[in-house]
């Protein structure tokens, strides 16, 4: 498809287990973002990739969270030893940097809904 693809769409896991969330951005988009959306909260920035490098990991809540991006395309967000407070929708977005003009539009996927029991 032409949009941002995320998998799984839903994940239920037990406390203490590790989970991996995958994001396939729009082809050609160099920038990739992970946000977390909890009930009643705004989108919380987690991490930003430009190409394969992550110049800003400041939003990752703890060292249980990590992310990587390979080939300038697919990204994986890994949460180790999940806790109940990790339950949320994890949204991936991508964008392209253009010369001139507004570059702030993010194209979001439908998200991965994580429930930690």
């Amino acid at each position: 498809g032409a949009g941002v693809s995320q998998s799984p769409s839903n994940k239920v896991t037990e406390k203490g287990k590790d989970v991996e969330l995958r994001c396939d951005p729009i082809s050609g988009h160099t920038a990739l973002y992970w946000y977390r959306q909890s009930l009643g909260q705004g989108l919380e920035f987690l991490i930003y990739f430009q190409g394969n490098s992550a110049p800003d990991k400041s939003g990752l809540p703890s060292d249980r969270f990590s992310a990587e991006r390979t080939g300038g395309s697919v990204s994986t967000l890994t949460i180790q030893r999940t806790q109940q407070e990790d339950s949320a929708v994890y949204l991936c977005a991508s964008s392209t940097l253009r010369s001139g003009g507004y570059t702030g539009e993010l194209f979001f996927g439908e998200g991965s809904r994580l429930t930690v029991l």
């Binding site: 941002v4 920038a31 973002y33 946000y35 009643g40 909260q41 705004g42 989108l43 920035f45 930003y48 430009q50 800003d56 939003g59 949204l91 977005a93 964008s95 940097l97 003009g101 507004y102 570059t103 702030g104 539009e105 993010l106 194209f107 979001f108 996927g109 439908e110 998200g111």
Partner: protein, 112 residues
């Protein structure tokens, strides 16, 4: 205090009414102001953006920014049931600022 404040609602209006949404913010460095629309179980999509203060109109949608008051608004005229969604405001410091600051979102229901 959150950097961007937005009343989560919910807001319920009859079809044809004007919907008024707003956000306040604390960071005077913000220059770009956006409204994203998010349908249930979907990702947000950009609806409108405005640079600095002023108004911008796009069809039934009008965005207003008052930087002196640190207050932004979105108006939806002649609202339709298809406008039922969550509306999130977002802001950034520059056109290349990758870290958008989002409001919590306001859930709107337009009743037929």
């Amino acid at each position: 205090q959150k950097e961007v404040e937005q009343d989560p609602g919910p807001l319920s209006v009859p079809e044809g009414a004007i919907v008024s949404l707003n956000c306040t913010y604390s960071n005077s460095a913000f220059q770009y102001f956006m409204w994203y629309r998010q349908y249930s179980r979907k990702g947000p999509e950009l609806l409108m953006y405005t640079y600095s203060s002023g108004n911008k109109e796009d069809g039934r949608f009008t965005a207003q920014v008052d930087k002196s008051s640190k207050y932004i608004s979105l108006f939806i005229r002649d609202s339709q049931p298809s406008d039922s969604a969550t509306y999130l405001c977002a802001m950034s410091r520059s056109s290349n600022d990758y870290k958008l600051s989002f409001g919590a979102g306001t859930t709107v229901t337009v009743r037929a």
